[in-house]
Homo-oligomer: 152 residues x 2
DNA sequence: TGTTTCATGTCAGCATTCTGACATAGGTTG
DNA sequence: CAACCTATGTCAGAATGCTGACATGAAACA
């Protein structure tokens, strides 16, 4: 089942490995969030709101790496179920700042702990130095890809 | 727009950064593959087949990080359009080994070059040493997440 | 040998996300 | 001031991927 050919070479490609890591992380998060009846995007939205109250729908979308349309349907659900509140009308412009309700905050607590445990497990085999090196590497990759994307 | 709170702290979370990097990489790949009329999964399938001819549908699915059902519809399209061939009946068992046609190989060439250029751009700011360190870090994260997943 | 377990290919239905489009608010620039 | 450009929220339709289910072949095992 192993026969190296030529070209990109999936075995040694950092891009492929990045996709794999992201996939495994997502699976692990889904696994711990499922018992709480929460999807990854669902959790991401609540976590973003906890750390930056008043984010708009579009800002939440960018923070969770989905389109603002997708975030909008999620937000409407969360609002209907009482996890999030948004003013009926914008105080200024069209931006509707969203905030967690007490219920939203409560439901986030367990999820946040569960996700934190996944991250701890992910980093369990790495030293502090290795972790900060990895952090810088990822930041460098992001910057390199984005600079040529928006900038040029 | 910045007000650090408590908890997971998205600004310093390696998990969040990993998701961000993966998202940016995917966007960059989509951007260069779109002119070729090819999606990321589409490309992944062809690249896997080029490097490991005879992979089955299920193996391709695992390699592209989608379900075997999703890969199946893609494979059927690729087969209908003449990029891939599969035997009508399995020589042994139910496994149908897939292979690229000359047309598939030709269409992959441009895509593979485009994707390689994205990867080069992504790594442009890193030394060889940093790259292999990042490689090891990602492998470590994957292993840590998987070991507790399947193994325990 | 018979049974159980597991992986595969495939069909159907569902969920989630995306693309396209529109109206509107605000800043920018002539 | 007016014309533009950008960003936002939102609706509708399309695409993509997933879950559930089934039959079948192979391997493991009693």
């Amino acid at each position: 089942m192993k026969q190296d050919g030529a070209g990109v070479d999936l075995e040694t490609s950092l891009g492929y490995l990045l996709k794999e890591a992201s996939s495994v992380l997502r699976s692990a998060m889904e696994e711990v969030l499922r018992p709480l009846g929460m999807s990854v995007t669902h959790y991401s939205c609540l976590e973003l709101l906890a750390q930056r109250p008043g984010l708009s729908n579009s800002e939440l979308a960018r923070g969770a790496f989905v389109t603002r349309q997708s975030m909008n349907v999620l937000l409407q659900n969360l609002e209907r179920e009482g996890y999030v509140t948004r003013p009926a009308e914008a105080a200024v412009g069209k931006v509707l700042p969203a905030r967690l309700t007490p219920r939203g905050r409560r439901s986030l607590e367990k999820a946040s702990a569960a996700v934190r445990s996944v991250e701890v497990r992910m980093l369990s085999g790495m030293t502090e130095t290795e972790q900060s090196d990895a952090f810088r590497s990822l930041q460098s990759m992001i910057r390199s890809l984005r600079d040529d994307d928006d900038g040029a």
